[in-house]
């Protein structure tokens, strides 16, 4: 198939960027979206034009590195799929596809489609963990966990930290990301001792990083490639409120 691509090009974070138009031909429907970019980049190199910088690594939907905003949707048109797992069979011959980087104050552009998401690491460093040193653990089966709780914790823990939720949100809020980690640990017995402290600290760090506030539009969950549920945000609100009032109930 033949396509017209409009891609955000930006030399670095200090200069302004703009959309450039490229024609690509002979794209197979079995190619992934990123393989289509590989083909374009190879051509650009042969023409002496700098290739388009984009983040990618595992290319199997789990590392969370890829981050393209495709036709107004993070990770493109499919539900529950990252950019690297989006295949060209989702497009038609003759389509025009607009590709931009994640857009959020807390995710500054490094180059072209590459953004800086280190704010997410700082949020985790502020409290997204259980304070247990290596060697202190008791036997793994000493504390039974109801399957339902374990499954819910797992569903929250499936977050890949890609930032699509922030990118989808009109306020660039990181609530879905933060709530996924808070929920995972709040659902497990191991997470109880630091439960209140964790919610307070992670929310404070999220605010300090310049993410916006949540207005419950749900765009984050709709665009999340791992389908992290909005229930987690409700749980975070409950945790935060409980912590603010000094009670976990």
């Amino acid at each position: 198939m033949n396509l017209t691509l409009k891609v955000w090009r930006q030399k670095n974070k200090k200069v302004n960027g703009k959309l450039e138009t490229y024609q690509v031909a002979g794209i197979s429907e079995d190619m992934s979206f990123l393989e289509m970019f590989d083909v374009l980049n190879e051509r650009l190199v042969s023409e002496g034009t700098e290739p388009i910088a984009f983040d990618h690594d595992c290319r199997e939907g789990i590392c969370g590195m890829c981050s393209m905003y495709i036709n107004g949707q993070p990770h493109g048109p499919l539900q529950g799929v990252t950019t690297c797992q989006l295949h060209m069979r989702s497009f038609k011959d003759g389509d025009t596809i607009v590709v931009e980087p994640w857009r959020a104050v807390a995710f500054p552009v490094i180059k072209d489609l590459v953004v800086d998401r280190s704010s997410f690491d700082r949020i985790i460093a502020s409290g997204g963990f259980i304070s247990v040193n290596t060697g202190n653990a008791q036997d793994g089966n000493s504390l039974p966990i109801p399957k339902d709780d374990a499954d819910k914790a797992f569903m929250a823990a499936a977050c890949i930290g890609c930032g699509a939720c922030v990118s989808a949100c009109k306020n660039a809020s990181a609530m879905l990301f933060v709530s996924a980690k808070v929920s995972q640990l709040a659902l497990l017995p191991q997470g109880q001792p630091e439960r209140q402290d964790r919610a307070m600290k992670m929310v404070a760090q999220m605010d300090a990083e310049g993410f916006g506030t949540c207005t419950n539009t749900g765009a984050c969950a709709a665009e999340c490639p791992k389908e992290i549920s909005l229930e987690n945000i409700a749980r975070l609100n409950r945790e935060y409120l409980g912590a603010s009032l000094g009670s976990t109930n």
Partner: protein, 660 residues
């Protein structure tokens, strides 16, 4: 046989070695730990667990990763599970059995001492991960669930759906970030190590490139830990992440560290087949799928019917036929070769004929019937059974099935999956002793980056076990034996001439790459290297092919250094430049892999030399001449010296591996 390398395996009975050693290894007191600095390169399971644990102990740690966050390291993509000798299933598992299975699975080419230690600490890994909040799969009673993996007859694999690596890495990452928050670890993301700095023969730091600005940085450390993963991307197409590379390990090799068993490559039997020339990577379908899936090809050559149209009696379940004792759960090397054998003989399926079927129809029916019984539905219709069976399969393997459908456009709940072997893991790596130290004092290698525990073939669910064992439970003890003698070494200024020299060499190489201004992209060289490696140093190797490969790689290297084209500059974010440096290192490594494969005149595990096979086509070892670790010392361009380390089996009786 010369014995230049001392593995430093402690004396004494196998079951006591580690306990005794751990209790007698010199310690560093807390005050001294605060003034000792450790550099950790790579933040996968080995690196993140080591960095977090060493920081908890009080050392000053600097950690580096090339990705934008330590959470993205490729351990994240491991699917199926992690082994541990817990015997929770009461099926006869024990530390000894895990030890034995691992040695046998590795085709008797790994060290007894290291492997026994790995089995001993395996249980503590599970405990540690549970305590961190890793949401492992559980049974209705609330206890941990297990499943089977290849090469074993017990259920000792712990898992979190098909995302076990993700959950374990996020656990280690949370421990690491906790230490970053406290200030015990300084984290450098989007940084790539480009050289090890040695002073008076000891590793004293690294030169790292800030990939965003292009700046070269000097970092001092009393010791340097390389946790940089494997080198499967030398084949271009593999299940590794696009960024996975050998550069850090290769730089260490060129600074004197021996590279051991480079030819031991694991080709994973169940991956989604190549669909065309555009293919940039291959996707694994977890080995756990062999728990319930059955592998088959048509009995008739060049059968063009669709899988579902081929009747039962015309199907050849070749693994069940050849290996009745282990069936579909034979080790990876054996399953891969068996698939290749069927396809080469003309029994392959799909458009390319380079694939076999992995079929879930039976599992869906079996699980469906169990569910029907549970629900007292004794007259359940075929459709009802199928629906209930699909729900069970979805819970166990849903994310894998979704991924298959997304990539191939086919629904694996309705049609058998098409699979073919692909490069997945490298057992070879930097040579290390029992302390995980390379032959360069102060320089360590952990996880897939070292060679030590898997011999010539790794069993499934053992990579996660080894990465976390090394980082959580081995290095925190063994590093004491070196650092206890370094407490008087003050931090060395990075103005030291050794740092200046190393930085200058790195800068010159970057400028050299940029100034070639040729015609071909780094990517195109990588593809060509991959093809040579796959064709001639892949699943089957021969003397003739390997000799040709060495000549072709040398020619490719010359062409690369005279015709590569890299756009952009050194002082900016430039992924093309970074890629070119990695490809250049892969080319050199590829040559060494072929040299090693040519030297090893036997077949063992993942190394299959066509000249050495039994009448049934199984790998034929030569224990008399090759029961050694081949550690290669770099002596200059295309020149290596072999330092063999003999393998001594005192506890396990070596035999021809049989899974029949």
């Amino acid at each position: 046989m010369s014995n230049k390398l001392d593995a430093k395996i402690p004396e004494g009975p196998i079951a006591d070695k580690w306990t005794k050693y751990r209790s007698t290894v010199p310690l560093v007191n807390p005050a001294n730990k605060r003034s000792l600095e450790i550099i950790v390169v790579g933040t996968g399971l080995a690196g993140a667990s080591a960095a977090a644990t060493l920081a908890e102990m009080g050392y000053k740690v600097k950690a580096f990763c090339f990705q934008d966050s330590p959470r993205r390291a490729h351990s994240i993509a491991a699917q199926g599970g992690i082994n541990a000798a817990k015997n929770y299933q009461n099926d006869g598992d024990s530390v000894y059995r895990l030890f034995y299975d691992t040695i046998k699975g590795g085709d008797y080419r790994s060290r007894e001492g290291n492997v026994h230690r790995l089995a001993e600490v395996s249980g503590s890994i599970i405990d540690q991960c549970v305590a961190q909040g890793v949401p492992f799969a559980r049974e209705y009673g609330g206890l941990l669930s297990n499943r089977s993996f290849g090469g074993t007859q017990v259920q000792r694999t712990f898992y979190a759906a098909g995302q076990t690596g993700q959950q374990l890495l996020l656990g280690a990452y949370s421990g690491l970030e906790r230490q970053v928050g406290i200030g015990n670890v300084t984290m450098y993301t989007r940084h790539e190590m480009l050289d090890v700095v040695t002073i008076d023969g000891k590793a004293r730091g690294i030169i790292a490139k800030n990939l965003v600005t292009g700046e070269l940085e000097r970092h001092f450390g009393h010791s340097v830990l390389l946790c940089t993963g494997g080198y499967g991307n030398v084949f271009y197409l593999s299940t590794n992440a696009m960024g996975s590379n050998v550069t850090a390990a290769w730089k260490a090799h060129k600074k004197g560290a021996n590279f051991a068993n480079p030819c031991y490559t694991q080709i994973h039997p169940t991956c989604i087949p190549v669909s065309g020339d555009h293919q940039s990577k291959l996707t694994l379908m977890s080995e756990s799928l062999r728990n319930d899936g059955r592998i088959w090809v048509p009995k008739k050559q060049n059968d063009t019917r669709l899988g579902n149209d081929i009747p039962e009696e015309e199907r050849d379940y070749y693994l069940e036929r050849r290996y009745p004792a282990f069936g579909n759960l034979v080790p990876r090397d054996i399953a891969s070769r068996a698939a290749k054998e069927r396809c080469d003989a003309g029994y392959g399926v799909g458009a390319s004929k380079m694939a076999v079927y992995l079929d879930y129809a039976y599992a869906i029916e079996r699980y469906g019937k169990i569910e029907a019984n549970k629900k007292n539905m004794h007259n359940a219709s075929k459709e009802e059974i199928s629906e209930m069976g699909k729900a069970v399969v979805k819970e166990k393997y849903g994310n894998l099935f979704d991924m298959y459908k997304q990539i191939t456009g086919e629904d694996p709940y309705e049609l058998p999956m098409r699979i073919y072997p692909a490069v997945h893991y490298t057992m070879g790596g930097l040579w290390v002793d029992y302390n995980l130290m390379t032959n360069v004092p102060g320089l360590y290698a952990l996880g897939e980056a070292n060679f030590s525990d898997h011999g010539a073939n790794r069993l499934g669910a053992s990579a996660l076990m080894q990465g976390l064992a090394d980082g959580y439970f081995v290095i925190p003890y063994t590093i004491g034996s070196y650092l206890s003698s370094e407490i008087r070494t003050k931090a060395i200024s990075t103005d030291h001439p050794a740092f200046a020299e190393a930085e200058k060499a790195v800068r010159e190489r970057i400028n050299k790459l940029l100034n070639i201004k040729g015609k071909q992209s780094p990517e195109s060289f990588h593809k060509r290297l991959g093809k040579i490696m796959w064709d001639k140093c892949g699943m089957a190797r021969s003397e003739k092919g390997l000799k040709e490969a060495i000549a072709e790689i040398q020619a490719l290297k010359n062409e690369f250094w005279s015709d590569v084209r890299i756009l952009g500059d050194a002082d900016e974010f430039n992924p093309e430049l970074d890629k070119a440096g990695r490809v250049a290192d892969f080319i050199e490594l590829g040559e060494l892999m072929c040299v090693d494969a040519l030297n090893r005149n036997e077949s063992c595990g993942g190394h299959f030399r066509e000249e050495y096979q039994t009448e049934e086509g199984e790998a034929l070892r030569d224990d008399e001449n090759f029961m050694y670790v081949a550690a290669w010392e770099y002596e200059g361009e295309s020149k290596w010296n072999l330092n063999p380390e003999p393998l001594i089996y005192e506890n396990i009786k070596i035999a021809q591996r049989s899974y029949k």
